[in-house]
Subunit: 282 residues, 2 copies
C-alpha cells in the first residue's frame, strides 16, 4: 500500500462533506469505521468538524463538544450547521448530524457545539507540568495481529481496526487475555494504517479510538459515549501519536474517559473527556 | 444571619427563572454574583441549568457544556430552551442565554447543550481510583478576611466573594502575597455564605468559584472562560464541599482548568474542565 498523505487518503475521502446549500452538508458514513455496525464517535466528530471548519471563518476546532443522541449507521447523512458567533480570532458554531430511519423519518444522531480558531496562528508559549505517557517503544507494543490464538478476528466486529495502526501498551492489554489491571487505563501508539500523518481531524479520531478503559476495569460490553469534549492545543507534528486514556471514577452507572494525545515533538496536542454509560457486563 | 436552606436562600432567588411561554424563561441577573461587573460563569450555568431542568423531563444535569460568547452583565436576560431528545432515563436539551445591549439589540451570552437525568435514581455502584484532595481542615484554610494588610477589599471588585464561604488551602494561596507556587493549583473548601447546603445547581457554581489557577502560575489578569463542561455524578451530601482545580498545560494562549468537587461523604460528586484564555499579564 502506498503511503497516504493528508488530503489524499481514505480518512480524507471518508470524512468528506459536500456543500448542498449554505450551512448544509451531505456526507456518506462508510461501513469501514464502525464497531458493531455503529460508526465510531471520533470519526463522526471528524466529519462534522470538517463541515464546521468550512462553515465557520476559522479552520480548526479548539474546543468541540458532541452529544451522542442515537447510534449512527453506515449510509447517507446530513450535517446542518449554524454560525453562532464570529469573532476576530475565534468563532463558535453548532451542528447537527441527521440520518433517515427505516420509516423515512429524519433522526438526529448528534448535536455539536464548537469554538474554532486557526491553530497555526496561536502564540507558541508553553507552560506545562504535563508529562508524556510512560509507554514502551512502538515495536514493543501490541498490534491487533497480536490477539491471542483462537480469538475471533477483531476486524469482523470492528472494521475500524483495519484502518488504524494501534499498538497497545502491554501493561494495558491484559484484558485481552482475561487479566485486566483493574486501573482503568489504556495507552497506545496511534496512527492511520495507510501511513497518513495526523492533523486536527485525525486528533478527533484519536481520542476515541482505543478500546474502552472499562475493559481494563474488568468490565465487558458496550460503553456508549453520551458526551465527548475535545480541546485541540496545536497541530501535531508528523509521526505516530501517543494516546493515554484514564478512567478514575465509575459511579451512578456512568464513567469518564480522559484522553491525552502527545505528538512526536513531545507536545500535548489534545485533551479530551467523555462521559459514557458503564457496561453492565461484569 | 439565619441559616438558609435549599429552596429558600439568596442563591435560589437569584437563579430563579420564570416561564414566559413554553421553552422560554425570563431571569434577572443580579449584581451580587459578579467579578469586575461580569456575572460569574458558574452562576450563569446554574441559572440556565434550572431553566433546562424545568423544560426537560429529567431534573438534573449529568453532563452540561456552556460556550461563553460575550460577557453577561447584571440585568434582565432571556433563556430560550429546546428539547433535543427525550429518552426514558436521559434527555438532551439546548439553551441560549440572551440579553439586550445598549442599542437594544439582542446579544447571545452563552450557548448550552446538556444531558439530564435523575441523579437520585442512578445505581449506587462505585469503582474509583480517585482520592479526595489533600487539603487542611476548614479552620486552617484562608477566608477572604485573611487578605493581606493593605490589599483592596476583594468584595469591591468581586461581590460574589461575599456570597461564598471559600477557604483557600494556604499551599495554593501564596499568589495573594506575591509567592505563587508555579504549579497551577487551587484548592478550597466551598460553601454558600448563608449556610445553604449544596445541590446540583450549587455544584455548577462550585466548579467555577475559585480564583483562577493562572494566579498560582504567577500570571495576573482576566482569564475568560471560553467553554466549560461539568459532569455531575451524584447529589452532594450536606456540609461543605472540597474543590480542587488544576491546570497542567498552558499552550497556544489557552489553558485548561480541571475541577473536582468532593462532598462530606468523600464522594467525587462533580468533575469539570474548562478552556480559558490565558491572561496576558506576567
Amino acid at each position: 500500500m502506498a503511503q497516504a498523505s493528508i488530503g489524499n487518503s481514505e480518512f480524507d475521502r471518508d470524512t468528506a462533506v459536500v456543500l448542498r446549500e449554505p450551512g448544509v452538508y451531505d456526507t456518506d458514513l462508510p461501513a469501514g469505521w464502525t464497531v458493531f455496525n455503529a460508526v465510531n464517535g471520533g470519526f463522526l466528530l471528524a466529519a462534522v468538524g470538517r463541515a464546521l471548519g468550512d462553515a465557520l471563518p476559522h479552520p480548526d476546532p479548539v474546543t468541540i463538544t458532541a452529544h451522542y443522541l442515537t447510534a449512527s449507521v453506515p449510509g447517507p447523512a446530513v450535517i446542518r450547521t449554524e454560525v453562532v458567533r464570529s469573532g476576530r480570532t475565534m468563532s463558535t458554531g453548532q451542528a447537527s448530524l441527521l440520518q433517515h430511519d427505516e420509516d423515512g423519518n429524519e433522526v438526529e444522531r448528534m448535536r455539536i457545539v464548537a469554538g474554532y480558531a486557526d491553530l497555526g496562528a496561536l502564540p507558541d508559549d508553553v507552560r506545562t507540568t504535563a508529562k508524556p505517557p510512560a509507554i514502551p517503544p512502538y515495536e514493543h507494543c501490541l498490534g491487533s495481529d497480536a490477539a491471542p490464538d483462537g480469538a475471533p478476528p477483531m476486524a469482523d466486529a470492528a472494521p475500524i481496526m483495519e484502518r488504524l495502526d494501534l499498538r497497545l501498551d502491554p501493561a494495558t492489554a491484559g484484558w485481552a487475555v482475561g487479566a485486566p489491571s483493574g486501573l482503568g487505563e489504556m495507552r497506545a501508539w496511534f496512527g492511520l494504517a495507510d501511513g497518513r500523518d495526523s492533523d486536527p481531524p485525525a486528533l478527533l479520531l484519536a481520542v476515541d479510538a482505543l478500546p474502552p478503559t472499562a475493559f481494563d476495569l474488568g468490565l465487558s460490553g458496550w460503553t456508549p459515549t453520551l458526551e465527548l469534549t475535545v480541546h485541540l492545543r496545536c497541530r501535531p507534528a508528523p509521526g505516530p501519536l501517543r494516546v493515554s486514556v484514564t478512567t478514575r471514577n465509575l459511579a451512578g452507572g456512568f464513567l469518564e474517559e480522559d484522553a491525552e494525545v502527545w505528538d512526536s515533538d513531545d507536545r500535548l496536542v489534545a485533551q479530551s473527556r467523555q462521559l459514557a454509560r458503564a457496561p453492565r457486563g461484569a
